[in-house]
């Protein structure tokens, strides 16, 4: 088996979702469980085939049909594997930081009014993560705060 990368982990995750769906469906009445059970089994099978085809070469060579592209699929350019893996590492580092920002913003929204949370998030993100000037950060944060107030509170009268 090739070293397990994020793609493989994602396939295993979806397989896990299918497995959970299958196990839970056994506790429902026969009518309610019929379709979810079939779908869960299908998902597990499809993900297993995809995982084996891409990550287990010994089995994958018999599963070439699983790599069949759609009718309008494009050929993707393939960079060298060394430069691809270095680029991917940098991308994943950036992704994890962005996800932290996203989750933090979502949490703050739960405790503080959006009129405060949005400008605060934009101010800090644009300056600290985006590396832009304080002036740009303040300008965007203030503009979005005013825009949100005008749109949601005044125009749509949505009580948030």
């Amino acid at each position: 088996m090739r070293g397990l990368n994020m793609s493989g982990i994602f396939k295993l995750f979806l397989m896990g979702v299918g497995l959970v769906g299958l196990i839970l469906s056994t506790s429902y009445n026969p009518t309610a469980r019929s379709i979810p059970m079939v779908l869960s089994i299908l998902l597990i099978l499809l993900m297993a085939l995809l995982f084996l085809q891409e990550h287990v070469p010994a089995v994958g060579k018999y599963l070439r049909f699983v790599g069949q592209s759609g009718l309008f699929a494009e050929e993707k350019s393939k960079a060298g594997s060394a430069e691809r893996s270095e680029k991917e590492k940098q991308e994943y580092k950036k992704l994890y930081r962005l996800l932290l920002w996203l989750v933090a913003f979502a949490i703050v929204l739960g405790f503080v009014s959006y009129l405060l949370a949005v400008p605060l998030f934009l101010l800090l993100f644009i300056r600290l993560e985006g590396g832009q000037s304080w002036r740009s950060a303040v300008y965007v944060a203030a503009s979005m705060g005013i825009f949100n107030f005008l749109l949601f509170d005044l125009l749509l009268k949505t009580s948030l």
Partner: protein, 502 residues
């Protein structure tokens, strides 16, 4: 029918509906123009915003966005050699060379008129097919709707831009997600994990916001520093009227490409990128002076743009008649319909036909306005592209999460949007298209209900003894095996050629 059309026209013209359409056009042009964004993101962001609006205003605004995106995307394709959306990729081939020759206005004028007329063509086809739709709908029963939904999801996987198996997996995953909540037949709760938020299932609006808006913002922020490819633009306004007339000088090409776009639009899930390339390829193959293509031939702008907008009218055919979305944008539009208490599908056609005519009027009006706005503002839009992603990305994230919260005032929607945003990002990264998942999420309820209704009324044989249902089943089966047959033939041909050369 005449009464319904007049009623729809009256509702369409009632103030402030035209204002909301214009707002939608402005946003659609902007989102279409900015690379990395597009109609799906704009619609996903706007849907919760329309919650407090009247139905006509909401539909007008959303359709305004849909109508404006193709032309908006062509502006950046022509001026900056960067397609605003994937469905404008082929427009760069001849659009940008024209800009380099100082004929940017000429190209933009041709794009504006072919986009508008292409949209009109698609709408004419829709209006011709709509009355027939009522008869088709009356001939359909539970097995037919089940097979139609199954075919819709399967076809999307087959015609997708990536792996069929990944497309099918995404569709199955979407169907499984649609099982969350009350079972439509027995009323039992499934996959709610003890939380009453999930009793009514996965809410479509925050899911769409996450899948399209948040995931693309994450991709944008990871990929680049700015949206610009470094090109500066000059001479934008001269030659526009000559460009507008160019469509009429190549009228038969325009008609053929509009037909291509309409047909592609009718097939669920195929999308504008495919029609864009097919139309361009057709133009290249059917004209005699080929060497000009790729060097600034105006037909290389007319062909893809006509098919892009004709596709929208085509996509409305399965959406309005059957409630089966013909594209990602119409899938989100259906989500908006549900948010406003409209049940898409045959009931909408029979009980609320004025809504459908409002969609048609809004599509025509939005294409006209998009042409005017786009041509007037192209020069200024070109400057926006120099904005760093570090400013645009977080703005989209902020709007997305507030929009998710605003749709029903529930914080759980924010969490759902974040979860789907992360899911959508990884799905796109690893080659699983979000389109089958979205369409399966929208159709899943109908699929399950009609399955059980068929079993209850006619038994399992009902799927195979009714001719339309059987025909749809066979069509689905054929669509699923065609790529494998083609691949097998290609492999055999390669083998034979290799044997001959030895």
């Amino acid at each position: 029918m005449q009464t319904e059309i007049l009623q729809a026209l009256s509702d369409f013209l009632a103030w402030p509906t035209p204002l909301f359409i214009i707002l939608g056009v402005l946003l659609g042009t902007l989102f279409g123009f900015l690379p990395g964004l597009g109609g799906a993101q704009a619609l996903a962001l706007l849907t919760p915003v329309t919650y407090g609006m009247e139905v006509n205003q909401a539909i007008g605004m959303l359709v305004g966005v849909m109508g404006a995106v193709p032309f908006g995307g062509s502006i950046s394709a022509i001026l900056l050699n960067t397609p605003g959306t994937p469905q404008n990729a082929a427009t760069t081939f001849d659009g940008f060379p024209l800009t380099q020759q100082g004929k940017a206005g000429y190209a933009l004028g041709a794009s504006a008129s072919s986009s508008l007329l292409g949209a009109v063509f698609g709408i004419v086809v829709l209006m011709v097919l709509l009355p027939l739709g009522r008869y088709v709908v009356l001939a359909f029963s539970y097995p037919e709707y089940f097979m139609m939904a199954l075919m819709g999801i399967s076809v999307i996987a087959v015609v997708s831009m990536g792996s069929i198996w990944k497309g099918l997996a995404a569709g199955v995953f979407g169907l499984l997600l649609s099982s969350v909540g009350y079972d439509p037949v027995t009323g039992s709760l499934r996959y709610t994990f003890g939380t009453d938020y999930l009793y009514d299932g996965i809410r479509i609006v925050p899911a769409l916001i996450g899948l399209f808006s948040i995931s693309s913002a994450l991709e944008l922020m990871i990929k680049g520093d700015s949206l610009s490819s470094g090109n500066k633009v000059e001479n934008v306004n001269s030659g526009m009227s000559k460009g507008i007339i160019a469509v009429f000088k190549n009228f038969w090409l325009f008609i053929r490409c509009s037909i291509i776009g309409t047909v592609i639009g009718i097939i669920p899930g195929v999308g504008g990128a495919v029609s864009n390339f097919l139309a361009y390829g057709h133009a290249v193959q059917t004209t005699r002076d080929k060497p000009l293509f790729g060097q600034g031939d105006i037909r290389g702008v007319i062909a893809p743009q006509a098919s892009d907008t004709a596709k929208d009218g085509g996509a409305m055919v399965p959406t309005m008649i059957f409630g089966i979305p013909g594209s990602v944008e119409t899938a989100i539009l259906l989500g908006a319909f549900i948010l406003h208490g409209l049940q898409p599908g045959p009931r909408l056609l029979m009980e609320n036909p004025t809504v459908i005519y409002i969609v048609i009027f809004a599509l025509v009006f939005s294409n006209i306005m998009a042409g005017i706005v786009g041509l007037a503002g192209a020069r200024y839009l070109a400057k926006l592209i120099e904005l760093p992603v570090a400013l645009i990305g977080p703005m989209i994230i902020a709007l997305s999460l507030v929009g998710a919260y605003a749709s029903e005032g529930s914080y759980h929607d924010v969490i759902l949007a974040v979860v789907f945003g992360i899911l959508g990002f990884f799905m796109n990264k690893f080659g699983f298209s979000s389109v089958p998942l979205v369409i399966a999420l929208v159709l899943g309820g109908m699929l399950q209900t009609t399955f059980h209704q068929t079993l209850a009324s006619t038994g399992f044989q009902g799927f195979f003894t009714r001719p339309i249902s059987l025909g749809l089943f066979i069509l689905t089966f054929v669509m699923l095996i065609v790529p494998f047959v083609k691949a097998r033939r290609a492999a055999k041909n390669n083998l034979d050629q290799g044997g001959e050369s030895i």
